[in-house]
Symmetry: C2
Subunit: 244 residues, 2 copies
DNA sequence: GAGTGGTCTAGACCACTAC
DNA sequence: TAGTGGTCTAGACCACTCG
């Protein structure tokens, strides 16, 4: 019973199926309203969602235009490696190299809003794509969620999926810092690259809907594995992680 | 005469001045409507803008909350190095290393939607921050805008500014691909780093409001100069380039 | 000048939060 | 249970595009 969602879904599908090819104009707002039996306001809400997903653009006086075919959900997109890989039709793999509880570092305590000396669960995972090492993930979970994380089968390829199923909508906010670094000795050995070769780094802090930090992470990608794709249309940025 | 803009500006200022500190609840929508003499719909439009800027967040049933103080305008933010640097209180500099018209490569023709063999204006600029080499920018402008670019004083530190003043709102859409690369011989020499050391790369294509591509660029940053900051709140990504 | 999207209003009901 | 944001409607007028 969320009408604008229904309209958005119908349009998204028409675009995905090619009924509305890239560059084509959409029906007018009035037509869409009549077609779906809703008011124009609801149609505009649906169109705003598609615009925020990078699928359409608009200019006053001219019809809405199809600008892309791929929907991107930037939060899920950036957070779960396994979900992303599968949506690309690639085979994700994951191996837990180490996992231990320890006191938070000063930096971690700040990021996760923990008391000094609070506990974190530190996990180092090597992730692969179609059998090749692709990324090294160093994640620190806040102590209050550590039990739930430890209960997850370490062979599960998506910790995010499991947490979501067990605890509901845990993540609502995230911040990512993207830059480049030189591979250290350990990075190089695990990823199978030469020492000091370039890696793409994404550091992340995720929080609950109420703003409570859950985990922070330092992910390092071999070059040539992914790029981050920022598509900005009429001031609305749309984010995606892209395979190469 | 754009009421929602007025409401958004007032709230933005209240947040910037600290009258509404981070974490504080906003007045209710009904209160804001009464206060500004507008309808609730207009207030909601204003709040949606602030949410898209990463300044506030909301949950059904609870009041809107202030979540940040810095507005980010992701398109301008990513496109103009000089504008960005000045907003950070840093001193940008720029030097044109080479500038020449030549036929577009196949890749450029595709990105800029030019006819095969169409002309581009290729410019290589070395950009600095507070006197230090920071970034190498290889830009190719579509032939139809080359005249305007050539008329710009090569010492102007912001080509984007000048184009904007001369031609109006030239840019409305952009796509950025962010990854890491190893510095080539030429990159290393110009940026003052060792060969094959890591660089943060951002490749860009910008287009007019009507979707016509204007320029494409390959920017390479020394590591430690900037990070890209992606702040995602309730599904809305907000982008910024951050100095280190 | 006709068509179309952008803005705004006034009122209604529902879903969720917080007390 | 009262308060508050989320959704939806019906109608109006304006600003811009396009033939």
């Amino acid at each position: 019973m969320v009408l604008h969602r229904g309209v958005a879904d119908a349009l998204r599908q028409a675009i995905a199926l090619g009924a509305l090819p890239v560059g084509a104009p959409l029906p007018t707002e009035a037509e869409l309203a009549a077609e779906h039996g809703v008011s124009r306001g609801t149609v505009r809400h649906a169109l705003a969602i598609l615009a925020a997903e990078g699928l359409i653009s608009s200019r006053q006086g001219a019809r809405h235009l199809v600008r892309g075919t791929e929907r991107t959900q930037s939060l899920a997109e950036l957070r779960s490696f396994a979900q992303w890989a599968r949506r690309q039709g690639r085979q994700p793999s994951g191996e837990v190299i180490s996992m231990a509880r320890r006191p938070a570092t000063v930096r971690e305590a700040g990021l996760l809003q923990l008391d000094p000396g609070g506990e974190v669960l530190a996990v180092l995972r090597l992730r692969g794509l179609d059998g090749e090492p692709a990324m090294l993930e160093r994640t620190s979970y806040a102590g209050w969620i550590a039990d739930a994380v430890e209960r997850i089968d370490p062979r599960a390829d998506s910790v995010t999926d499991r947490l979501h199923h067990e605890l509901g909508a845990v993540f609502a906010h995230a911040e990512h810092l993207i830059d480049a670094v030189a591979a250290g000795v350990r990075d190089a050995a695990l990823l199978g690259v030469r020492r000091s070769s370039p890696l793409l780094r994404a550091r992340r802090v995720s929080a609950t809907p109420a703003g409570r930090p859950v985990e922070c992470s330092d992910d390092r990608y071999r070059i040539g594995v992914v790029t981050f794709d920022i598509h900005t249309t009429s001031g609305v940025p749309v984010l995606a992680r892209r395979a190469l």
